[in-house]
């Protein structure tokens, strides 16, 4: 049976990086063939950068990402106050290569994901 790696990452690690470094880190893990689970919802601006950078590196082998997240938006008043006070918001983000994630469905409070484990060697 083939392997599927999953990195469970605290967003604290990402917050200590510059925006582009965080995006590159996420894409490095995804292109390696692993999935990422973050303990927060990514801010919309960071998601946007991730989408943009993904488009820049798509080729015949890497066809993009699948991503799904749950939790309040960073722009919600509740989360704005929590962030202002230095707290941590609740949420979850799952990201993986489009070649691995066959189906992903967001039901607001839960994410259903079907992954296809590749038999090819992981990078």
């Amino acid at each position: 049976m083939a392997d599927l790696g999953i990195e469970f990452v605290s967003t604290k690690i990402l917050s200590e990086m510059k925006d582009n470094e965080a995006t590159e880190y996420l894409l490095k893990v995804i292109r390696r063939g692993d999935m990422i689970v973050l303990d927060e919802k990514l801010p919309p601006a960071q998601e946007k950068e991730l989408f943009k950078r993904t488009m820049e590196i798509i080729d015949d082998d890497f066809t993009g990402i699948e991503i799904s997240s749950i939790g309040d938006s960073e722009t919600s008043w509740k989360n704005s106050i929590i962030k202002l006070l230095g707290g941590k918001t609740t949420g979850l983000t799952v990201i993986g290569s489009a070649k691995i994630i066959k189906n992903i469905k967001n039901q607001k409070d839960k994410i259903n994901l079907l992954a296809k484990i590749s038999t090819t060697k992981r990078k």
Partner: protein
């Protein structure tokens, strides 16, 4: 909170004489069909080519100074039909529609550039129509991210539940998914309920 957001929305819509209105959404949501309908109604000519093959619109298509009228009032808009935003582009999907491999690879490359362009425009539109296929699940990360970014920049948004001409159409799913937004159900293809959209746009203009 909602009334506060509405007041922001109203004031932004009402500030400019010539509004840049961006049509956003996932591929095949019907953005170009809607842009064509608006242009046909007010300019008398279509804006772009419509196709069942995803990513038919791969560059931002603009129609400047589209003047729409409702109840004796008029509004001039620069209409921007954006390429559909997605998180993946696989040329093999295009070959399933009978496109040759080489052409499909070129189309895929153009599609990725178009998506980047559409994302960059998120910071520059004055208002947005976020078009959703009302026969599909609306709660996708693409829609969430588009709306999140527009909301973060306080850009006024109207959600469009498109394709009401299809039996599977369900406006309620979009309203349930994004309850903080006004949803207008239309059929861009046959023009069904399009007057309601014009009415809604004018209701945001002071």
């Amino acid at each position: 909170m909602f009334s506060f957001l509405t007041s922001i929305i109203n004031s932004i819509f009402g500030k400019k004489k010539n509004v840049s209105l961006g049509l956003y959404g996932a591929p095949n949501a019907g953005k170009t069909t809607l842009a064509n309908k608006i242009c046909m109604d007010w300019v008398g000519e279509p804006l772009g080519v419509v196709s069942e093959v995803p990513h038919e619109t791969r560059v931002v298509q603009k129609k400047e100074r589209v003047e729409i009228k409702y109840s004796g009032r008029s509004l001039s808009m620069n209409l921007l039909d954006m390429p559909g935003i997605s998180t993946k582009v696989d040329y093999k999907e295009f070959t399933k529609h009978g496109i040759k491999k080489e052409d499909a690879q070129i189309r895929a490359k153009e599609a990725t550039k178009g998506i980047i362009e559409a994302i960059k425009w998120l910071e520059n539109v004055d208002a947005a129509l976020v078009v959703m296929d009302s026969t599909e699940d609306p709660y996708t990360q693409v829609n969430i991210t588009i709306l999140g970014n527009l909301e973060a920049r306080k850009i006024p948004v109207i959600l469009i539940a498109n394709k009401t001409d299809l039996a599977k159409s369900n406006k309620n799913k979009i309203e349930d998914a994004f309850p903080q937004y006004k949803v207008i159900a239309i059929s861009a293809k046959d023009g069904g309920n399009i007057d309601n959209l014009y009415k809604e746009i004018f209701s945001r203009v002071k």
